[in-house]
């Protein structure tokens, strides 16, 4: 007959087990580990649609954009669909430059990455597709887990590292557990107000080429800054 354990012993064991669980969780699922898994998962070319609401100059506005990515080459293209005043505009991010095409003036503004201003929307759209840039520019921690229509997801909180002016105070990022990829971004401003709440939908692997992502109208006025 087994000796009955004292309540004290059970308590210590439970604490030990929980500590071990948390420790293994923390080790196996550190934000960096989750992000690394996401980066590996997004290595092949992909495309998705980002939709939600952003805080525009005149109040809340609907936001929709298509994101195309060849992550391995650090190449991303974001085509804006809404708000209507942005339709036809797009941003291309290469490993060294940021291109902003403006439909109304038919201009392609090319800036070196360090000089580029892509945060005019209250957040930096480059972060929507670029996990590597996110890891480099944000301090990340794991908030917990959440259930989404696409499956369980990790909730990460990212705060810009000192000296990083990204246009927001913090971003909450939801990453699917099974198929590690972003499904939701919540950007918050200095006062804690939501600057953007965006969901990533219609995700799919795609056959993309660098030339396709860098495509722009050949009559555009190219301005190098």
């Amino acid at each position: 007959m087994r000796e009955r354990e004292t309540p004290k012993a059970v308590g210590w064991k439970a604490w030990g087990l929980m500590a071990l669980l948390f420790l293994s969780l923390a080790l196996a699922q550190s934000p960096q580990e989750i992000l690394s898994r996401m980066v590996r998962n997004l290595d092949a070319p992909w495309q998705a649609e980002v939709r939600g609401e952003i805080q525009g100059p005149g109040g809340k506005e609907e936001f929709r954009a298509r994101v195309y990515a060849i992550s391995r080459q650090g190449l991303f293209r974001i085509e804006y669909l809404k708000p209507g005043s942005l339709e036809g505009n797009f941003t291309v991010i290469t490993d060294k430059e940021v291109w902003n095409y403006l439909y109304l003036t038919n201009q392609l503004i090319i800036s070196p990455k360090e000089k580029a201003q892509v945060s005019g929307l209250g957040f930096n759209p480059a972060l929507l597709g670029n996990a590597q840039a996110m890891a480099e520019r944000l301090d990340l921690r794991l908030l917990g887990r959440v259930s989404t229509p696409q499956g369980p997801a990790y909730r990460l909180l990212g705060q810009p590292k000192p000296g990083e002016a990204l246009g927001f105070r913090e971003v909450e990022l939801w990453i699917l557990e099974e198929d590690p990829r972003p499904v939701r971004f919540i950007f918050r401003g200095e006062g804690g107000q939501v600057l953007g709440d965006l969901q990533v939908v219609a995700f799919q692997r795609a056959n993309l080429t660098p030339a396709g992502l860098k495509r722009y109208p050949k009559d555009a006025q190219v301005v190098r800054r």
Binding site: S85, L86, A211, P217
Partner: protein, 245 residues
């Protein structure tokens, strides 16, 4: 003093991003043209020279990421007839785009300084809806209002007044898989002019044909520009641009 100015300019040129465009303008003789621009930390400074007239200018800009871009500049001139001045403002933000230019020079000096006296251009465009743009233009002595609808290509319809009213018809659209563009605009009535451009990337072909008879045909092959035309007299202009780094 002159030597020092050139030395400073060349020193700056070697260390900064820049562009040099040299050309020959042929009309009653051969006239050299030179345009040089150097990027500074913010903006760029440029020089434009041709026999009898020269200008020094500054172009600055304000970038708003995917929301817009605003460029502005000022140019001072000296040469035959006296000094001149030009001010520019061009760009857009959100649903609004603006282009403004105001120049003054006592005499025109072709090809780099074509306007004479006090001359202005003001072009305002507003996005009524994602695919609809209204435009209003004031240039020299004419005014023009247009409506453009993007449905596949961009179709433009408008009216203008240049003493006598005229009609504006335009079409612009992609004609290839790689972003190649064809742009056509016809003005008929008080102003008679057909303008077109075919942009293929490394090559561009542009033409203007107007009545009373005048016209030009320009071909850009990479950095080489070849232009020939008739404006009161036949002319040709050959240009080549070097860019660095």
């Amino acid at each position: 003093m002159r030597r020092w100015v050139w030395l400073i300019f060349l020193g700056l040129a070697a260390s900064a991003q820049g562009r040099l465009e040299a050309g020959a303008y042929l009309q009653s003789g051969v006239h050299p043209t030179l345009e040089a621009a150097l990027a500074l930390e913010e903006g760029e400074v440029y020089l434009r020279l041709q026999p009898g007239r020269g200008a020094l200018g500054y172009l600055g800009s304000l970038a708003l990421g995917p929301l817009g871009f605003l460029g502005y500049g000022v140019q001072g001139e000296v040469g035959e007839g006296g000094w001149g001045l030009a001010l520019f403002l061009e760009g857009g933000a959100g649903p609004l785009a603006l282009e403004g230019r105001l120049t003054y020079r006592p005499l025109r000096a072709l090809p780099l300084f074509p306007e004479e006296g006090l001359w202005g251009r003001f072009f305002l465009r507003y996005r009524l809806a994602p695919k609809e743009v209204a435009g209003f233009l004031l240039e020299g002595g004419r005014a023009e209002a247009t409506y453009a609808l993007r449905e596949g290509g961009t179709h433009t319809l408008g009216v203008g007044v240049a003493g006598v009213p005229y009609l504006v018809l335009g079409w612009k659209g992609e004609v290839g898989e790689g972003g190649e563009v064809l742009d056509l605009a016809l003005r008929l009535g008080g102003l008679n002019r057909l303008e077109g451009g075919l942009y293929l990337g490394e090559a561009s072909l542009l033409f203007i044909l107007s009545h009373p008879w005048a016209g030009s045909l320009t071909l850009w092959l990479g950095d080489l520009g070849l232009e020939a035309g008739f404006h009161q007299a036949p002319y040709a202009w050959v240009r080549y641009a070097w860019r660095w780094p």
